[in-house]
């Protein structure tokens, strides 16, 4: 069964026929070529496929493509404006929060969801929001530091919320 999708992906309107059994993850990677979103466990444990669906962090491996008709989707490709990285991306680089990089797109999207909800998050809240993103390289401390730094930077130079 094919299904028609009319969605916004990173601000761009997309209208496509997609197979109904495609997950949002497969739609983004295979139909749209947005391979920044990674495929990890496919059972909602690792968070590598995290994207924003109407402003909320979701595992795109556990969402069917037809479910998102009419929705706003943000992926990691939507963060930078041209060569100008989003402050959260810069903070991840500056804090060595990226080692192998496989978890990074998902962690960036969880961080954006957090900063949308709370521009000045406590460390406890940061941990709550990134608990669903596994990283086997960094030990998380650099990631938590990066999110704190991004929150500080965004307070002085706010960016439009990605919702």
């Amino acid at each position: 069964m094919m299904t028609f999708l009319d969605v916004r992906v990173n601000k761009t309107r997309v209208r496509r026929f997609v197979p109904a059994h495609f997950t949002l993850l497969r739609f983004l990677r295979e139909t749209e070529g947005l391979t920044g979103t990674k495929c990890g466990c496919e059972i909602g444990e690792c968070g590598a496929c995290t994207v924003l669906l109407d402003g909320k962090a979701v595992n795109s491996c556990l969402v069917l493509a037809p479910e998102v008709n009419g929705a706003d989707i943000w992926t990691v490709e939507g963060l930078a404006e041209g060569f100008d990285l989003h402050p959260i991306q810069k903070a991840f680089l500056d804090n060595d929060a990226v080692h192998c990089g496989y978890c990074t797109p998902g962690l960036l999207m969880s961080s954006i969801a957090l900063l949308n909800d709370d521009p000045d998050p406590s460390e406890e809240k940061i941990k709550t929001y990134i608990a669903g993103n596994l990283c086997r390289c960094t030990g998380y401390i650099p990631i938590i530091n990066a999110i704190k730094e991004a929150a500080r930077i965004l307070k002085n130079e706010p960016r439009p919320l990605l919702k």
């Binding site: 109904a20 059994h21 059972i43 909320k56 979701v58 069917l64 941990k127």
Partner: protein, 293 residues
């Protein structure tokens, strides 16, 4: 990989119920956090299933109606966790919902799905049992309300028929002077499958005796349930360490009586004793009783 499916979405409840009443195999789903994982395990590509998306049916309202809290079955765990009515009226449910999976899972998974999936380790069930929750079920032919304590019949099995849909959960709040406790034991601090859950509500009277007590436990018995033997023993007693320890022993005896001695019993026996004590202490510490102070 998810096999080919038919995807159905309706915005009218009656139309959704018609699909369920048809001869076709139609699986209702909301968050998909259990259903899609099950679907991936499907071995037979010719066994093509139809999925009915219930998210368009408006089943995510949370409100109070004559002292009963009504929770739409498709309310996500995040919606339940953040809801102010639930925070003030059903605090044990707020706590339980906040500990489910990850932020991503809580943003999708629903309270109805958690109950219908009927896992022995479902996090919301011990909390809802304390509030005498009822499950409202609709079908084309009949509407019925089933107490949660009778809804789950065995692990992963419920009384729900193929043509029926759970539309809402009703819960009955207790007075503000009740104290509550909730403990979820897992192998790590977050994104946990619960190994054991204990929840309690306690009311202490003017003489400092336990006036009313409700205790429920998940992953202790085959079906998550209240532990009536523990409740009976505690009523009328003064909350003391030895009484709480005795309550833990009764719960452990009951567990072994129900499930027999298994490979996990030496671990679970000592853990259930300890969790009962902790949760009773937590509930007691939250009891508001001016006469005591």
């Amino acid at each position: 990989m998810i096999p080919e499916i038919e995807y159905i979405k309706e915005t009218e409840l009656d139309l959704a119920l018609q699909h369920l009443a048809s001869d076709k195999k139609v699986i209702p789903f909301a968050g998909g956090t259990d259903v899609l994982i099950e679907l991936r395990k499907s071995k037979n590509p010719f066994d093509r299933k139809a999925l009915l998306d219930v998210k368009g049916l408006g089943l995510n309202d949370i409100y109070i109606h004559s002292d009963t809290v009504i929770i739409g079955a498709a309310s996500t765990h995040t919606e339940v966790e953040d809801n102010e009515i639930i925070k003030s009226k059903l605090p044990v449910l707020t706590k339980a919902s906040s500990l489910i999976g990850s932020k991503q899972i809580r943003n999708r998974g629903t309270i109805g799905g958690n109950i219908i999936n009927a896992s022995p380790c479902a996090d919301t069930v011990p909390a809802l049992l304390l509030y005498d929750a009822q499950i409202v079920i609709r079908s084309l032919s009949e509407d019925r309300t089933v107490p949660l304590s009778e809804f789950i019949t065995s692990p992963y099995e419920t009384v729900l028929q193929k043509d029926e849909l759970v539309t809402e959960i009703r819960a009955f709040p207790v007075a503000e002077d009740y104290g509550w406790g909730y403990y979820k034991l897992g192998r790590r601090g977050a994104v946990n499958i619960s190994r054991m859950t204990v929840a309690a509500l306690m009311k202490v009277d003017g003489e400092g005796k336990i006036n009313e007590i409700r205790v429920s436990a998940g992953s202790v018995f085959p079906i998550t349930s209240r532990i009536s033997d523990v409740e009976k023993m505690l009523v009328g007693e003064k909350p003391k360490a030895e009484i709480f320890r005795r309550a833990g022993e009764i719960a452990a005896e009951k567990m072994i009586e129900t499930s027999g001695r298994r490979w996990s019993t030496p671990y679970k026996e000592s853990v259930v004793k300890e969790l009962i004590v902790r949760v009773l202490n937590e509930a007691y510490s939250r009891c508001k009783n001016d006469d005591l102070s």
